[in-house]
Assembly symmetry: C2
Homo-oligomer: 677 residues x 2
C-alpha cells in the first residue's frame, strides 16, 4: 500500500523523479524524498482532477470487482477476461476542462462456460449498467489457460504412448501449451473452443522454445478442459537446448563505457497526466489489450495548441505461419485480441530497454479473478540525443544548422515467443515516428534434418519448404507480422478529409527537351473504398489528412501526412480463413469514418472468428469519409524468412512509419532550436 | 606546414586525439601534446607503410602537379578537373601485406578548350604513363565556373534590358549561376558545352536561393564563355528573402542539456588507416568525386577475419526536376559526376553534425591549378549509444537481453542547394546500415502566385502543376533523388552468386484448414538480366549474396542480404533524355560482374551525355554473374513534392538500406555483448 501510494498515481502512471541524476547523489536525500513523496502523493491523490482518458486506477478496478460480485451475476463458474476503460464520447472528452467531473466507465469481459459476457460498470455511481452475452464470440485466453492443460494432456493414454515411443518416461520435465485457433479452421469450432497443444522438454534449458516434441499435436477443448484428439505423426529428435539467459563468462572485450546524462534532468514535464516536451503536448495510458494509447496529441504553434491526433495505438497484431504440415497449419496468432488477458505489456529492464536517463511508468491490468495487478516499468520516456541533426546547410563555408533530439515513449509487448518493442517517437519538427522492434524467439519446428544438405539452391530440399534450418533439428518457420495502427488523426479539429496525391507520368510535347516528367495529381477520397491504399513503386502516392476548413498562410488546407516505411502486403488468398480474420493486411492504409465501437482491426473477438467484425467488413459499407471525423488504419507488415542469426534469440528488427506535418506550419518549425544539442 | 604535419597523415585522414575528453582537461596538456604529436607524426610519416587503397596524400598531389607540368603537355589553356587515386588491381590489393611497396597511381582529368583529357601518373616512378583525349566527353565543372559567368551575362544588352524591365538597375547585387545540362537536351550540345543560367538578387539576404529573377534564363557556352541566347518570358516578383543563418534572438526554451561522454575514450581504434571496432575491420578514404569509399570491410568471427565488402560507396546522384516550363525543363543534375571538382564533401561542424565524442578526419582534393586543397573535418566517426537494444526476451519475468551501440562514419556532400548527410553505420550484429539524410534548400522557382487560392483540391490551380507553393511567390518544384550505391560485396571471398528468394503464394489442398500460404522459392541469377530487381509488394523477394563454395555449420552457403529501405523507382519514360543518363533509377537493384573500370552508374562523364557509358548500358551485354566476382548496385530513391515545412531550409529526411548477414554466422552473433551500454 505504501509502495502504491509512492509510485502509483490515480492516472495509472508513475511520476519520474529526477531522472538523469546519479544514484549516488540521491542516496543522501533518500529518506527525505521518501517522506516528501508520501506527502505529495497523498495530496495529489486528494486533489488531482482525473482526466476522462486516464487509465483505470486501482480503486476503479476494485469498484468493478465489487459491483460485479455484488450484482449476483458472477456465480462460481465465470471468470474475468479483462477490465478496460470505456472511453466517454469524443465530444465530451474534447469539451472536458480541469475541474469537471470526468465520466468513468469500465468495459468488462467475462467468460462463463466458454460463453462471452460483456458487462459495463459505471464507476462513479458504482453501478452495473449492462450485462449481456455475446453469441458466437470466443474469448481471449490467459497464459495460465495456455499452460494449464499440461496435466490433462499428460494423463491421456494416447499421449503417454506417444511419449514412450520417443523414450520420454519422466513427465516431470514435459510441459504442454494449448493455443486457441486464430481463425475458424474447422467446422466443429462453432460449438467448441478448440486449441492445438504442443509439448516440450523442460530439461537442461531455462526455456522450452526449442525443445518441441516433434510430430505430436494434441487437440483440446477449452470449455470441457478435455483432450479431443492426439496426432502422432512422425518421431523426430528433440532439438538440443539453446540458451541465452546466462551471460557468457567473458563478455566481448573492447567496449568502453558510454555515458548519457542530463545533469539538469529531462526536458519533458508531466502535469496531471499530460506530457509536455518542446512544443508537443500529449497524454497516454497503458491499456491491457493494445498497450500504450496516445491521446490528445497537440502541438504548440506560436501559442496555439493545435490538434494532430485524437488517439493512436496499435489495434491488432496478425501473425500467420506458413507451414502446411498438419501440426502447423493452424498457427495463426492475433497477438493482441486473442492473448491480451493479464496485459500485453511486460516490464522493461532498466539499463537494457531504455537509456539511463529514462523515466519509467507502472501499469495496471487484472487477473482471472478481476483483481488489479500492478506491474512495474510498463513504459519508459526518454530524450534521445545521439548526434542527430534537425537541418543544416553549408554555403560559402558557413555551416548553419541545429542539432536535434527526440522524445521516445517505449514499451514492450510480449506475446509468447515474440517480444515487440513499441516506440512512439516525437520529433521537434512536428513529426511522429511510430516504430516496432521485433525480437524474442522464433517459433520453430523440430525436424529430422541436421543440415540443409549443402545445396546452394534449397529449392529441392523438402525440409526447408516452409522455413530455414536455424540450428540442428530446428526449422525456423516462415511467417508474417502485420500490425494495424489505429490513428484517429484530427488535424486542427475533428472534421478532416483524406487527400491523395498520385504521382503520374506526363508526356511532354515534341518541342520540349524532355520526353516526360511526373506531376502530382491531388484528389479527395469520398468513400472508404477510395482510400484503400496499396503501395506500388510504379504508381506512387502521398497520403495527406487535411482540414478542408483551415487554411495555412499560403491557402493550403492544413495537413498531416502518413509516410509509409518498409512494409508488406499479405500474399494469402482472400478466402483463406486466416486472411479473413487478418484482412486488414490486404492494404497498407484504410480510412474509415470515426465510430467509437470500431477499435480493433480484426474485431473485438478475433479468436476462432471469420472476420465478420473487422476493418475489412466495416468498410464494405463504403461509407463517406469526406470532411467528417475520420480514422486512419496503417498496416505495418513484414515477411520473415528466418536466418541462422535469428537463433537462439533474434537481433531486434525495427520497422516504422511516419506521421508528419504537410502544409501545417507555414514554414520550417525548427529554425529556433538551440544551437547546443 | 606545421598544421599539416600535426593533423594530416599520409593516408589522408587525421588521427583522433582523445575524443570524449573535455576541452578543459586538454588545456593543461596542450603544449606537451603539440610537441609529442609533432614528434609522433614525423615518426609515423617516416615509418608508416602506405596501403594501396589509401587516399592520395599531399606529396602525391604535388607529384601529379610536377609530373604533368614537367611533361610539357599542359600549356596555358588547360586546367585540372580532378586528381583521383587510380586503384591497383583487386588481386594486388588483396595480396598486399604491410611492408610491401604499394603501387600508387593517380587518374587526372584535365580540360582544354572543353575537350576532356585523361592522364595517368605513376606516383612512385614520378612518371606520366598516359595522356589521351576522350572524344565526345564533357567534363564536370567547378563552382567557380558556375558562378564565373556573372559579369559576362550582366554585360549582355538583352540581359540589361530584361533587368531594366524588372526595375533592377544596380547590377552589383545581381548574381548569376550557369549550370551545365545534365543530359543531351539539344542537338547543338554535341559541339558546344551549353549551360543554362539564372540570375538572383543578392540583397537583404545571406544567400540567393530564394531570390530568383523569375522568367529570365540565359543560355551560355562554357567553352567560349559567351552568352548564346536570352529567354525573357514572364515578369514575376522577386520572392522575399528567406534567411535561416542567424539564430533567433531567443532560442526555443525548455531544452535542458544532454551530455554524451566517453570518459575512457571511444571503443574504436585506427591502426595504419584501418578502423577496428567490436568485431569489425575496415578502411575508408575520402574521395573527391564520390565521398567516403569504404574498403576491405571484414568481420571477426571467432578469430577469423571474414570478408564482407571489398568496396562500397555512392557512385552517382541523379536529381531530375519535374517542371515543363522552358526555364526549368533542362534541370537535371548528376550531383557527383557533373559537379565534383573541388571535392563533393564539405566540412562538418562540430557540435552540429556529429556528437561531442566524435573524431574528425580531414580530406584532400585539388583546385583548377592541380594544387592540393586540405579541407578540415570531411568525415567524423563516433559511437552511438542512445538506448538501443541488440536483442531481448522476457520469459517468466526474467528479461534477458543486451544493449547495443553503433559505429557511425558520417560525412556531408554539398551540391548546390542540397546538403546530403552520408552515413555508414556499423552494427555489432554484423549489419551495415547505409543512410542518406537530405537537407539544405529546395530548388525553387519564382512565381507570380502568393497563395494556392485556398482550393482544397489543387488540381485546377496551374501554379502548382509542377510543385507546391512553399512561400509567397516561391514554388518548391517537384523532383526526384536517386542514389546509386556501388557495393562490391565479397562474402568470404571474391566469387559469389546472387540468390533470390521469391515469396510466392501456394494454394493448399481441400483437406487443409488453410486455403493458402506462401513459400520462399530460391534461385540463383545466372546473368545480369536475371538480377534487375524491382520492389513489388505483391511479388516480394529477398536478395542474398552467397558464397557457393563456403558452407556454414548447417550446410547453407554463407551469405549477406541487401534489405531495401523506403525507396522509389523512376516514373520517367525510358526514352526521356534525362532518364537515359540516370537509367540506374529504373531498378532498385542491379548486379554486374566486377570490372575495375565500371565505377559510376551514370558513367564517367555524365554531363550532357546520352547514357552510353552507364550501368544500364553495360548490363545490356547480359553478362554472366554466377559464382564469379560480382558487384551490387543498389538504388536509393525518393520523390519529393515539397511542403511549406521544407522552407526556407529543409528538415533532414533520412532514407536508408541494410546489408546484413544471412546464414553467415551460424547463430546470433551478439549473445556475448556486455550487459552495460
Amino acid at each position: 500500500m505504501l509502495g502504491e501510494l509512492l509510485n502509483h498515481f490515480p492516472d495509472g502512471i508513475i511520476r519520474p523523479i529526477f531522472p538523469g541524476v546519479s544514484v549516488r547523489r540521491l542516496s543522501f536525500l533518500l529518506c527525505l524524498v521518501v517522506f516528501c513523496c508520501l506527502l505529495l502523493a497523498t495530496c495529489a491523490r486528494a486533489q488531482k482532477a482525473q482526466h476522462p482518458l486516464d487509465a483505470l486506477d486501482t480503486r476503479e478496478y476494485w469498484t468493478v470487482y465489487d459491483v460485479i460480485t455484488a450484482s449476483g451475476h458472477l456465480g462460481d463458474d465465470a471468470h474475468f477476461e479483462s477490465i478496460l476503460l470505456h472511453e466517454p464520447t469524443k465530444s465530451l472528452v474534447l469539451a472536458w476542462k480541469p475541474g469537471d467531473a470526468a465520466p468513468r466507465e469500465a468495459d468488462v469481459v467475462l467468460v462463463r462456460k466458454e460463453r462471452v459476457i460483456e458487462a459495463r460498470v459505471d464507476l462513479r455511481a458504482q453501478k452495473l449498467e449492462s450485462w449481456k452475452e455475446v453469441p458466437g464470440a470466443r474469448g481471449p485466453v490467459f497464459d495460465s489457460e495456455i499452460t494449464g492443460f499440461t496435466e490433462t494432456i499428460l494423463a491421456d493414454d494416447r499421449v503417454k504412448k506417444a511419449l514412450a515411443k520417443r523414450g520420454i518416461t519422466d513427465t516431470n520435465i514435459v510441459q504442454c501449451e494449448a493455443v486457441p485457433l486464430g481463425f475458424l479452421a474447422f467446422p466443429e469450432q462453432k460449438d467448441r473452443h478448440i486449441g492445438m497443444a504442443d509439448c516440450m522438454i523442460a530439461h537442461h534449458s531455462y526455456h522450452t522454445w526449442s525443445r518441441y516434441i516433434g510430430g505430436l499435436t494434441v487437440e483440446v477443448d477449452f470449455a470441457s478442459k478435455k483432450v479431443l484428439e492426439v496426432f502422432d505423426e512422425e518421431v523426430v529428435p528433440i532439438p538440443p537446448p539453446s540458451d541465452y539467459e546466462e551471460a557468457p563468462e567473458v563478455a566481448r572485450p573492447g567496449t568502453k563505457p558510454g555515458v548519457i546524462s542530463q545533469p539538469l534532468g529531462p526536458s519533458f514535464q508531466i502535469g496531471n497526466g499530460e506530457v509536455s516536451w518542446q512544443n508537443w503536448y500529449f497524454r497516454f495510458r497503458l491499456d491491457s489489450r493494445v498497450g500504450p494509447i496516445m491521446s490528445l496529441v497537440r502541438i504548440d504553434d506560436h501559442g496555439r495548441r493545435r490538434s494532430v491526433l485524437y488517439e493512436g495505438n496499435v489495434s491488432e497484431f496478425f501473425v500467420p505461419y506458413m507451414d502446411a504440415t498438419r501440426n502447423w497449419s493452424t498457427r495463426v496468432f492475433l497477438d493482441a485480441g486473442a492473448f491480451y488477458p493479464g496485459g500485453i505489456l511486460k516490464s522493461l529492464r532498466q539499463g537494457l530497454d531504455c537509456p539511463a536517463s529514462a523515466a519509467y511508468f507502472d501499469g495496471l491490468s487484472s487477473d482471472e479473478k478481476g483483481n488489479p495487478v500492478l506491474r512495474p516499468r510498463q513504459a519508459c520516456l526518454f530524450e534521445r540525443f545521439a548526434g542527430d541533426v534537425a537541418w543544416r546547410k553549408e554555403d560559402a563555408n558557413l555551416v548553419s544548422g541545429r542539432p536535434s533530439r527526440t522524445l521516445v515513449l517505449r514499451s514492450a509487448a510480449v506475446v509468447g515467443n515474440y517480444d515487440y518493442l513499441m516506440d512512439w517517437r516525437f520529433e521537434q519538427d512536428g513529426t511522429i515516428r511510430v516504430a516496432v522492434g521485433a525480437t524474442g524467439i522464433l517459433d520453430a519446428r523440430a525436424v529430422a534434418d541436421e543440415s540443409a544438405d549443402g545445396a546452394t539452391n534449397h529449392a529441392n530440399h523438402s525440409a526447408e519448404e516452409y522455413g530455414q534450418l536455424v540450428a540442428r533439428n530446428i526449422l525456423g518457420v516462415n511467417h508474417d507480422h502485420f500490425f494495424s495502427f489505429r490513428l484517429d488523426i484530427d488535424v486542427d479539429g475533428q472534421n478532416n478529409s483524406f487527400m491523395i496525391h498520385r504521382l503520374v507520368e506526363k508526356e511532354l510535347s515534341a518541342g520540349s527537351p524532355r520526353k516526360s516528367i511526373w506531376v502530382a495529381k491531388p484528389s479527395i477520397a469520398e468513400k472508404e473504398r477510395d482510400a484503400m491504399m496499396d503501395i506500388r513503386l510504379d504508381k506512387p502516392s502521398m497520403w495527406i489528412f487535411v482540414n478542408p476548413k483551415v487554411k495555412g498562410p499560403l491557402g493550403h488546407s492544413t495537413g498531416y501526412e502518413i509516410m509509409p516505411g518498409v512494409t508488406a502486403a499479405s500474399l494469402l488468398s482472400p478466402d483463406d480463413g486466416a486472411q479473413k480474420v487478418g484482412a486488414f493486411s490486404a492494404h497498407q492504409l484504410w480510412v474509415t469514418p470515426y465510430r467509437p465501437e470500431e477499435l480493433y482491426a480484426a474485431g473485438t473477438y478475433p479468436s476462432s472468428s471469420t472476420g465478420e467484425d473487422s476493418l475489412a467488413a466495416w468498410t464494405r459499407k463504403n461509407r463517406g469519409i469526406e470532411n467528417t471525423d475520420i480514422v486512419a488504419w496503417y498496416t505495418l507488415g513484414f515477411h520473415h524468412v528466418p536466418r541462422e542469426e535469428d537463433w537462439p534469440v533474434m537481433p531486434v528488427m525495427w520497422h516504422d512509419f511516419v506521421i508528419r506535418p504537410f502544409h501545417f506550419f507555414g514554414q520550417n518549425p525548427v529554425l529556433n532550436l538551440p544551437n547546443e544539442p
